[in-house]
Subunit: 347 residues, 2 copies
């Protein structure tokens, strides 16, 4: 990994908490997380007191903090994994790293512990190359460069706004795939980071991501909520929707999105077969969501992430609203989210 | 690597020969190549007798074979690395694998010899997924699958027509990069194959590729020739131009292009500083070539690779012809190539 000069005070680690005992999770991450400020957001449905070990600089947000900020607003919901978005809302840092609480640090092929935060910051602080694909992956990495034929005019790249990490052990499959292949594990460590090309959509998972909050923070919006949303990743699609919003907005604003390193190790949890009914709804929605995001274009007048979310909400309402009321609800939430974002930002 | 059922008689290995002593090259590849039929094409400028070890099933083509097929045609040139395209022209097999004669088999991270031919055939015989990016790379690989959020309707993929392999040791840099970083070597084995997304252009190198000749053979055209073209890879751009032609045609015909495994080991050759003058011309052309291929769209009436090359030649002539006469020449060559292709095909 290239060395990035990280100013620790520019980074927030946001952790959404669905289980009260955070000790196993935080102790595993101690050497990596203890340098940084943590924003811990408790799922409003979680009643038990949090158990947090010593040695961390953390601010904890609970149901009452959420209610205070939301005021009379009712469309934005911060329950389940969506409580994470509250952490994004209250962060004041340039970079935010989000890691789900069922993940621990992974090891690379040589058995070394992977510092996922450092790798995310490297990804975000080196340029991205969305306009032409470099076959030898990240050209800014130590020992790498652009391949013959890569136009020199594109070699300075663009700013990277979103870094999507991956997972070893339990891969991020949907419930049908998990149910079909319960024993399948992802054990292949692919030592690469690549820029996802302009206008290419992909399923961004919220399990292990980082982003430049100043550039695209408002685009990280908890908008699409399934009627029967559950508490396992495979029972949600909020991150998939959010990821496609961010990707379209990055493409529009000329910013880059990277995928690949760092890996985290995902532990098993839940029963895929029990989740099948809930997830199936999300799986069906993707058939509408993906073609929509592939074709949506934002007006040139939208020059900030806030503008872009508002414009996107209008188009979602117009084009997807008639397909399913969940999409109209998502559009409303996006508008409301930007209002709250601006209110929090202005004090 | 997944197991592909390879019918050996469906594969031709095409080797363009710029150095007469093929013994070191072929002996290194013996365990891999000896099962297959080889098409060896001698650079017409090469005077010395070829030295080929025993144990290979090979057809050898020389200047006189080329002249016989070309007849009175003068625009298609098969000199230098372009002699390889003559091998593509005379092949009768479904799959063609091309590997430059300065490459030997590479080893994977565990030290095992990589069977580049088998991996190329796996790439070509499993589907490609150009419409949506799978963050865990090739979903058809053993132990892999589609990530949550990937639309089920896109999971059957499309046929893969082109497989672009990579290089360890001497990476495929242009002469300026080689001259600037003479000691740089690519030693990172990235254990992945990915589909290059729809409408994403990349620099296809001719060093280590394979393709479905029946689907896109005519699109592998030796069209763009530099005025001062040299005998080293970094002194040529014929493969870069050809690769973008094939990518646009695959996108148009709904076929896939993959990049990644297999690696070959590239040995050093040549002096990058001596080549700088020649290569600089190619580097400048890319500034025109890349935006052109990013924006070109073929008419719906073009339904075969032959049609597509003819249509592309028209647009090249119209749009790039005024920029540099080399492009007009390329357009003429493309038209002539299709004529020759059809003539050879029909007997």
């Amino acid at each position: 990994m290239s060395q990035a000069i990280i100013n620790d005070s520019e980074v927030d680690i946001v952790i959404s908490v669905l289980n009260s005992d955070l000790r196993p999770f935080l102790n595993e991450w101690k050497t990596i997380f203890s340098r940084f400020h943590l924003i811990i957001v408790k799922d409003p449905d979680l009643k038990e007191e949090l158990q947090i070990p010593e040695g961390f600089l953390a601010d904890i947000y609970t149901k009452s903090d959420i209610e205070r900020v939301l005021g009379s607003s009712t469309s934005v919901l911060f329950s389940g994994y969506s409580c994470r978005y509250f952490g994004i809302l209250v962060s004041r840092k340039k970079y935010v790293v989000c890691i789900d609480d069922d993940c621990v640090p992974a090891k690379d092929s040589a058995g070394n512990l992977i510092d996922a935060v450092a790798q995310h910051i490297v990804n975000l602080t080196t340029p991205a190359t969305p306009f032409f694909f470099n076959t030898l992956y990240d050209p800014y990495r130590k020992g790498a460069d652009f391949v013959r034929g890569y136009p020199f005019s594109l070699r300075s790249g663009v700013d990277c706004a979103l870094s999507c990490g991956l997972w070893l052990n339990l891969a991020d499959h949907d419930a049908p795939t998990q149910a079909l292949k319960p024993g399948q594990r992802n054990m292949r460590y692919v030592d690469a980071v690549l820029t996802v090309p302009m206008r290419t959509m992909m399923p961004v998972s919220g399990i292990n991501i980082a982003f430049n909050r100043e550039a695209v923070g408002p685009a990280l919006v908890p908008a699409l909520r399934l009627a029967g949303e559950g508490k396992f990743r495979w029972e949600t699609v909020e991150d998939i929707w959010c990821g496609m919003c961010v990707k379209v907005i990055c493409d529009h604003l000329g910013l880059g999105v990277k995928s690949g390193l760092p890996y985290v190790w995902r532990n098993e949890r839940g029963n895929a077969i029990d989740s099948l009914k809930k997830e199936w709804e999300g799986v069906k929605l993707m058939e509408e969501v993906v073609p929509f995001f592939q074709s949506v274009r934002l007006p040139q007048s939208a020059t900030t992430a806030e503008d872009c979310v508002i414009e996107m909400a209008k188009i979602v309402k117009e084009q997807l609203g008639k397909v399913d009321p969940m999409f109209s609800q998502a559009a409303e939430t996006m508008v409301e989210w930007v209002k709250i974002w601006k209110a929090v930002k202005s004090g």
